[in-house]
Symmetry: C2
Subunit: 404 residues, 2 copies
């Protein structure tokens, strides 16, 4: 008799955003006349940039003719895209990354889940708390997290690094030594960042204790301050301890277009085994590449026009972030984030729990946000609003909150 992966049965509830989706659907069904505004899930609302649309049409036309048709893509992704990434995301920042250290994928969610494949089960992970649920849930599936402790809403074998007001929403070096450290800056969900000097401390620590850092830089395009690193490889020694995940979802609105990449430097070794080679093997065996036309769309993001247009989109969302920040502050809320990230992190008022505030906001202002506790135990008492709505809806939502 076949046996299922029992770790799946340990998973708590369903994936956060599925739960929110169901709650909102139920509310809308019961209140069909209400205009519900979502500042919940981190999904973009602006259409793809004209340069990207043009590249897509052109690539579609290529697929219509045998001479320019593209079948299976190269294992690592097309060189035109990896070259553009190397030049723009790394060389332009003084970082030298080789073409075969870049792996094109269908997005950072897949990569952040799949990266666990190349590590043994008996690694101990450390995560920021609150944290993007995918890091933890995929490690639950892999059997690395121990048991769920209901009282503390946490996993027995996970090292939690609280990021609360008390720590200025940055993690501190943990007392127990982890094997795999997940870091995401600019942070989802808190919108916080750390400086290059602070990140250097993490790199030094990882190299010292022999830990590997999974560095999620999906929100890099939202960095507005000077001393915030755009890639972990700006730090000395990062190539011997860090994997970087990147995404086109938030800098170019590819949430429904699907493109991302992972960087694994060849210096990253465990007892002589290069993680780059392991990931190359996984990539070649369990994945068949992002679509050609989507890789061409990704290339267009790096064109001169593409850069201008996508930067304008980021500016649009960051203007929303400012509206939310200012509005909430005026309404008396305690807020953070929103400066180098499209996420605003607020303290729930009147000792409401995160889910109480979710229900309160949905029922009284018809606004959907994300409960902080959905991101981990230290997220309790906090709430996330995203700047990815339309400007009109963002203004309307903030008006409603002010009037509560």
């Amino acid at each position: 008799m076949y046996k299922i992966n029992e770790n799946y049965l340990k998973l708590q509830g369903s994936y956060l955003f599925s739960t929110i989706g169901k709650k909102v659907a139920a509310y809308k069904e019961a209140n069909p006349d209400r205009d519900v505004i979502s500042l919940g899930i981190g999904d973009v609302t602006q259409p793809l940039a004209p340069a990207v649309i043009e590249a897509l049409h052109k690539a579609v036309d290529e697929m219509a003719v045998a001479e320019t048709f593209h079948g299976y893509a190269p294992d690592l992704g097309y060189e035109f895209l990896r070259s553009a990434i190397r030049e723009n995301d790394y060389k332009a920042r003084g970082v030298d990354i080789a073409l075969d250290e870049i792996f094109i994928s269908d997005g950072a969610k897949s990569d952040s889940g799949n990266i666990g494949d190349i590590f043994a089960e008996n690694n101990r992970i450390a995560v920021c708390d609150p944290v993007y649920p995918v890091y933890v849930d995929t490690n639950v599936m892999a059997g690395r997290t121990g048991e769920f402790i209901k009282e503390t809403e946490s996993w027995s074998n996970v090292i939690y690094m609280p990021c609360t007001k008390a720590t200025n929403f940055a993690p501190e070096i943990p007392k127990e030594t982890p094997d795999i450290i997940y870091l995401c800056f600019p942070n989802n969900p808190t919108g916080s960042t750390i400086t290059k000097d602070q990140l250097q401390e993490w790199v030094d620590y990882a190299n010292k204790v022999g830990a590997v850092i999974i560095y999620d830089a999906a929100y890099e395009a939202y960095i507005s301050e000077d001393n915030v690193p755009h890639t972990i490889y700006e730090c000395d020694g990062a190539k011997t301890c860090a994997i970087e995940l990147r995404s086109f979802s938030k800098n170019a609105g590819f949430t429904g277009t699907r493109l991302g990449f992972t960087v694994i430097p060849k210096e990253l070794e465990s007892n002589g085994t290069k993680l780059n080679a392991l990931w190359a093997r996984r990539h070649g065996t369990k994945f068949n590449g992002a679509p050609y036309i989507i890789q061409r769309a990704g290339e267009a993001v790096y064109s001169e026009e593409g850069k201008k247009q996508t930067q304008a989109q980021v500016a649009y969302y960051m203007n929303n972030a400012k509206v939310i920040m200012d509005g909430l502050k005026n309404a008396g809320f305690s807020v953070s984030g929103g400066v180098n990230a499209p996420y605003v992190w607020l303290e729930t008022p009147k000792d409401m729990t995160s889910w109480e505030f979710f229900d309160y906001l949905l029922n009284n202002a018809n606004i959907v946000g994300t409960p902080g506790s959905g991101f981990g135990p230290s997220g309790e008492g906090y709430f996330r609003l995203t700047a990815f709505g339309t400007h009109e809806n963002t203004l309307k939502a903030i008006e409603r909150i002010k009037n509560l």
Copy 2:
């Protein structure tokens, strides 16, 4: 210190098609004047059908405007595509599959690798021999295959079901009882099929011993004979023992466009746990959907025009298969497959090994095929040619083989 997944170190060589790619690249570099024809990797050469191209352009235009822009897709995939699949691939064949039993993905390679996630490590797998390498390699990565035995070129904990001339290229019920049975019909690499009655025996066997069948029907569109099942769910009782994988790669030329789906009936349970729910959780946690525009392209495959056009492509390739079959027979080769599948399976002449014949064909006829031994120990002495080349190249290749 972090630990890597040591199972990866057990993998033998690199992925079959990477090895072939390197050999061919080396030959071309040494012989830049030669016209090398590939009938090796199963990649298509015909451009996307006009109906698909039209749907892609239309969807790209939708992504250009905020009102019709699409962000994150629904977890299981868009309903328009799942409905088309339900109607055309199942209802039209008298099979009732619910919408939430269909999971849209980026292709059958990803699915056939990832499906292992929902099963425990201590399952024993059975595979046809020869077999699509992804089934075995991904189980090596998951630690299910035991040790590699050099003498027999096989894994100690895998049940091999030889499919050779002696078994009419069909597997026989194994002596040892497996937990997970991988079946692929029409078969890659042998091009063979089994009848509905034969498949029913496998379904009955799986239900009897409590095994789950992973049924890969990626080549379903190539079935030309009447008594060959198009889906495993045509068999009674398949819903309690079988998962079906499907692909758009070979029926519609999506190898570089990436789309597939997996069907998991809700009747498929292990001690009360529905595999459908486990896969839904994996799908929602480790994957973010196929691109909207690609899902629209998939929908177009099921339109009246799309069906006509893609059927014409299949006919084009099957005409190639006939050319290869007839040509090889005339040249004195012993061949099989090629009637319900785009693969022709031939016995290597003069006791050559598969790789010897690969080198011989590359060096003397400048034709790339795939060595049967790359698909498993019982593939030794066989060789695969695919019908996916252009008609001109296929004719030319067969002429060259005849003249050897």
